[in-house]
Amino acid sequence: AAPSLTTEQLDTGVDWLSKFGYLPPPDPVTGQLQTKEALTKAIKVMQKFGGLKETGVLDQATLGLMKTPRCSLPDVSQAEGATRRRR
């Protein structure tokens, strides 16, 4: 992530990406964390879907879009996310 990113911003970003289908939900049993690679990929997909430059970084534009009011439904289905990971 960007050097100036706070832990809180990172957590918020990860929560947002999970909530709207870009990242698989964290495993409640193992508490498995997201890998950096998966996070970067998820951010890029989110940026592309949102019409932003695909940097893979939680930059200000990306965080700004995450704060934009929106519909609760996810943008990417879990099944689709799984397919993407397998590839």
């Binding site: 879907f49 949102g50 019409g51 929106r70 519909c71 609760s72 439904l73 943008d75 990417v76 289905s77």
Partner: protein
């Protein structure tokens, strides 16, 4: 985006506002009901769905203003953040239900900074309630982000992107023109033609010919983005992935495929290029490449770019079996590798290697059932999988199997 969801099997759907915003100072109950009515009408105006308000508790679309965790798996989060959601069609108890976050300041005809325009959000959510998923298209109402008020509910016209998507689910409501794109100068109605004048008689003939999908043959046929396109003269018909006609009336090629020369009166062949999914149009010795529905710069170019030594092609299609592009002309065919942009060695070969196909095809296309389809005159032939032989039982009538024409229409005197 999400994979396509179910659609409603019925066409008459009931709705009811079960709970209203707590802050009635902003929006009264009658206003809320009126806005819901008009937001549903946006969809039913263009597609054969009918919404009617009911008082009972068993409405298909139950509308609630609620807040925080309301036990449906999608808790609201106070002002901002998530503002509404709706459940896709289906058999579940909650299917079609639509929830608005009561912590938002819902407004109508107010500046953006004063709150959230209820009509705009309702149009989006009802899109979900009838089966549409989120899209990344910036101009779409189904983009997940709130984009501000959309104006007068009585005059609101859906973006073309959304119209096409709902037509794919439910078809087009009678009397709706699916080619009419608001705000696009190229989509404005053409002035009426005085058909009695001698110089306009050819226009009349072309128009009449193009409009009769049940008796005409086609210049070109292509599978584009999973849908089928049948081109005839200056027009085309479009079929969804499920082989449903988007409209019984044809659309004008020039109004949809932007950038072709205005004097182009027909096309020879069309195909979607494997790899980059650009769309290639052929006419005589020229070809054009489209990115989506806009022509790329630098076109037309000569078909000799493909290594084709002829003055045009009859047919072009991509064989699913090997992802290669096949060109047909008279009794010859060529195999082209679009990934390496070069013609394969050893071609042309004689089309008789494709057993059962006629000479001088109109066009060919692949289809999502894994087969290739070849078209000539009013008939078509199916070649399954990696075979090079026509399946038994063909040819069959294009009009009947693809274009929803009855036996009587297909067997018109013209067919002789």
């Amino acid at each position: 985006s999400l994979t396509p969801q179910n659609k409603w099997n019925k066409r008459h759907l009931s709705w009811r506002v079960r709970t209203y915003p707590k802050d009635s100072a902003l929006l009264g109950r009658d206003t809320v009901r009126a806005l819901m009515y008009y937001a549903l009408k946006v969809w039913s105006d263009i597609t054969p769905l009918n919404f009617h308000e009911v008082a009972g508790s068993d409405a298909d679309i139950q509308i609630d203003f609620t807040k925080a965790d309301h036990n449906d798996g999608y808790p609201f989060d106070g002002p901002g953040g998530t503002v509404a959601h709706a459940f896709f069609p289906g058999e579940r108890f909650t299917a079609g239900d639509t929830h608005f976050d009561d912590d938002e300041a819902w407004t109508f005809r107010s500046p953006d900074s004063h709150g959230m325009d209820l009509f705009a959000v309702a149009v989006h959510e009802f899109g979900h309630a009838i089966g549409l998923v989120h899209t990344s298209a910036m101009e779409s109402i189904m983009r997940p982000y709130y984009q501000g008020p959309v104006g007068d509910p009585l005059k609101y016209d859906l973006p073309y992107e959304d119209k096409v998507r709902v037509w794919q689910l439910y078809g087009v409501r009678d009397s709706v023109s699916h080619t009419n794109q608001p705000g696009n100068p190229s989509q404005t109605p053409e002035p009426p033609v005085l058909l009695d004048l001698p110089e306009n008689r050819s226009t009349l003939l072309v128009a009449q010919d193009a409009l009769d999908r049940c008796t005409s043959h086609f210049d070109a046929v292509a599978q584009i983005r999973g849908e089928a396109f049948f081109f005839k003269g200056k027009y085309f018909w479009r079929l969804t992935r499920e082989k449903h006609l988007v409209s019984l009336r044809p659309a004008q090629i020039h109004r949809f495929w932007r950038g072709l020369p205005p004097n182009l009166d027909s096309v020879d062949a069309v195909y979607e290029r494997p790899g980059d999914h650009k769309i290639v149009f052929f006419k005589g010795q020229k070809y054009w490449v489209f990115k989506d529905n806009n022509v790329e710069e630098g076109y037309p170019r000569p078909i000799s770019d493909f290594g084709l030594p002829v003055d045009g092609v009859d047919a072009a299609f991509v064989w699913l079996h090997n992802d290669k592009t096949y060109f047909f002309k008279d009794n010859n065919y060529w195999r082209y590798d679009d990934h390496f942009r070069r013609m394969d060695l050893g071609f042309p070969k004689d089309t008789t290697l494709w057993k059962g196909l006629p000479l001088q095809l109109d066009d060919a296309m692949r289809w999502s059932d894994g087969s290739s389809y070849f078209f000539k005159g009013k008939e078509y032939w199916r070649v399954p999988g990696s075979d090079m032989e026509v399946e038994a039982g063909y040819p069959r009538l294009i009009a009947k199997d693809w274009l929803r024409c009855t036996e009587m229409q297909s067997d018109s005197p013209d067919s002789d």
